[in-house]
């Protein structure tokens, strides 16, 4: 993976020492909160309901074992012994004290990490396919490009005061695991008719208050044009973006208001103007990055240990079938470690669990770790004969849940248990749904199902692209949960549609249960997934399951 240059190291250290002085001046009263707030947000420090929260960047979700161990150390020394992995592939600490934050940032800098541009109206952490560099369906590893974008966007002088935040996602695979169509810019690696690698560039996607599926602005962009083209998009939006209205400032609204054709024309003009300024240095940097991200050598080995465990141990078999994905190299697997044990908080890992995952990555996973936007941890290169050992160690640490991609593998934002913006809680709903499907023992039968929960309209829990989305709202001083159906965050992206009136905190879990059971009755065969059934049948039978009284009344009225 990428190692900091002298420039990176000096830059990150300087920012820490600047922030240390800013915190001192805030505490001694020389800075007011109004003056300090933008400074702390530039360093990822939020004030939440019960405490500060520090959001640490995990660039494109890639971590090394020694970095994971440092996160564990920070969790124990300055927090409450755990961290929360987010839907942006980052980690959040929920309980730091203001005076400790500069020390935490120094400890992060010790392992080439930081919290810069994890907040504020800047280009945020570039997210990537969490199977990058390992996936069997991949054209190329997207992370060298993601790192190039990170270097270009970090402290970019033109883009420090954007109309609003700006998020870029990239995937190297036709199967989109990076939700590229719901980002300000989505980049999908493709090949043209001549077989050359390039990008399909998608712009103006986003969730939140006005969910939009991104539109293709350029069907094929040659690799060497990437930085000037992305810079052209951001600079066009930087001028056009609605700074008068926070809710209309994101590029999705700019694209919606001006139309994709007009935006394309402006971007192409700007691109033509700035392209000559890119002399090719970026391509030299990129070549170096590609070497840094080269896949480790994965030797051929016997599969003996795997096959006997697979045949004899049904618990291992279930885990292996659910949590291990196909690797580009025969004999290897991509392990997804579920941070969704039934009844636990989605995305949380204790310091002990972090250290165990670091040890496993080091001993059996070629020292590579990824964080997924689905709030799980990935060991991308594990030989199948090592899977029984990995599984046994994970199981002992409470990390062996075989539910990846299933009903209890729920994305949930922190919601009103932590977040100052939330309108309702998310975590307890996720915990109760997971416990209920575990009680019913139906999730393996139900199969692939994405449930996503957000505790407010900002949609950090990606509820719009959940097959079943849940949005927590405050309705007249009571928590209320609205269901959306039919969302999809993959290459066949769609925004879920609201099913009807919301449910109270007591009613929401039974409602989800009715929905799941109705799907089992409705599906044509065991291999038809929830989203496929929904697309085949439309919302009516699912709504009937959610609102049986309304359905009953309609039948009576029709009779």
């Amino acid at each position: 993976m990428y190692s900091y240059s002298e420039f990176d190291e000096a830059f990150v250290r300087e920012r820490v020492s600047q922030f240390r002085a800013q915190v001192e001046r805030r505490i001694d009263g020389s800075l007011t909160e109004d003056e300090f707030k933008p400074l702390r947000l530039m360093n990822g420090l939020y004030l939440q309901l019960h405490a500060y929260m520090l959001r640490v960047a995990i660039p494109y979700g890639t971590l090394a074992p020694h970095q994971m161990r440092q996160l564990a150390m920070i969790a124990e020394r300055w927090d409450k012994g755990y961290g929360h992995f987010t839907t942006r592939q980052n980690i959040q600490f929920n309980w730091p004290k203001l005076k400790d934050v500069p020390d935490i940032l120094d400890a992060l800098a010790d392992v080439e990490m930081h919290a810069i541009q994890t907040s504020g109206n800047t280009i945020r952490n570039v997210t990537a396919d969490h199977f990058a560099g390992a996936a069997a369906d991949e054209i190329a590893d997207p992370r060298p490009v993601a790192e190039l974008l990170r270097q270009w966007s970090t402290d970019h002088p033109e883009f420090q005061f954007l109309p609003r935040k700006f998020k870029i996602a990239i995937t190297g695979s036709p199967n989109d695991r990076a939700v590229t169509k719901a980002h300000d810019i989505g980049l999908r690696m493709v090949r043209n008719e001549a077989g050359e690698e390039g990008f399909e560039v998608i712009v103006g996607g986003g969730l939140g208050r006005t969910p939009m599926i991104g539109k293709v602005i350029r069907e094929f962009l040659p690799r060497e044009d990437l930085l000037p083209y992305v810079e052209a998009i951001v600079s066009v939006w930087n001028l056009l973006g609605r700074r008068d209205n926070k809710f209309k400032a994101r590029i999705k609204i700019t694209v919606h208001e001006h139309g994709i054709e007009e935006i394309r024309r402006l971007v192409e003009d700007r691109f033509t103007e700035i392209r000559p300024g890119f002399s090719g240095v970026d391509q030299e940097v990129l070549a170096g990055l590609e070497a840094a991200f080269a896949r480790p050598s994965l030797p051929e080995r016997s599969l003996g240990g795997f096959e006997s465990a697979y045949t004899n141990d049904p618990v291992f078999r279930a885990w292996s079938d659910t949590n291990v994905a196909e690797h580009a190299v025969p004999g290897y697997g991509i392990v997804t470690i579920s941070l969704k044990a039934h009844g636990k908080t989605p995305g949380d890992a204790s310091a002990d669990q972090m250290r165990l995952m670091a040890d496993l990555a080091e001993e059996l996973g070629h020292s590579e770790i990824r964080i997924s936007h689905e709030q799980n941890v990935i060991l991308p290169h594990v030989h199948k004969s090592d899977l029984p050992r990995v599984h046994a160690a994970l199981k002992e640490a409470g990390l062996g849940t075989a539910n990846v991609g299933l009903a209890s593998d729920i994305i949930a934002c922190p919601g009103m248990d932590y977040c100052a913006l939330a309108t309702a809680r998310s975590i307890p709903i996720a915990q109760e749904i997971a416990e209920r499907v575990d009680e019913l023992k139906i999730e393996h039968e139900v199969g692939h199902l994405k449930i996503k929960i957000s505790g407010c309209i900002n949609a950090c829990g990606h509820h719009h692209v959940g097959h079943i989305g849940i949005l927590g709202l405050d309705r007249a001083g009571v928590e209320n949960y609205q269901i959306t159906l039919g969302g999809d965050g993959t290459e066949s992206a769609s925004i879920g549609e609201r099913a009807g009136p919301g449910f109270s905190a007591d009613q929401i879990v039974p409602a989800i249960e009715r929905l799941i059971l109705a799907y089992l009755d409705l599906r044509e065969s065991d291999s038809e997934t929830f989203i496929q059934s929904y697309r085949r049948l439309g919302p009516a039978p699912f709504k009937a399951a959610l609102y049986p009284e309304t359905a009953e009344k309609e039948r009576a009225d029709a009779a």
């Binding site: 909160e33 004030l47 203001l98 009103m416 307890p428």
Partner: protein, 99 residues
């Protein structure tokens, strides 16, 4: 006739810890909502809010929150303010840990 004023408390977060705090009648910041001053007069509420906001080296994000009189002192009326008196529901952290 003017609308009846909903009683209020002055609240915010402690500068260093970020913990929820409430303003008392004798000008202290308390970590227990029940010790807060329950303000029943609108003009007085504005005065107390200004007083709270004038202490930026102690407390951050000061605002008026709806409250009602309870047996042991002021109590929250909205679930958000209720959560602030306890902490998160997924771990016994925050105020509920020391209660």
């Amino acid at each position: 006739m003017s609308r009846k004023f909903t009683p209020k408390v002055v609240t915010g977060n402690a500068l260093i810890e970020g913990d929820a705090v409430w303003l008392t009648e004798d000008d202290r910041w308390t970590r227990e909502m029940s010790e807060a001053e329950l303000i029943e007069d609108e003009a007085h509420a504005q005065m107390r809010l200004l007083f709270g906001q004038s202490q930026p080296s102690v407390v951050v994000g000061v605002y008026l929150a709806d409250a009602k009189a309870g047996l042991n002192g002021p109590e929250p009326t909205h679930f958000r303010e209720d959560f602030r008196t306890r902490g998160p529901s997924n771990y016994p952290h925050g105020k509920q840990a020391t209660a």
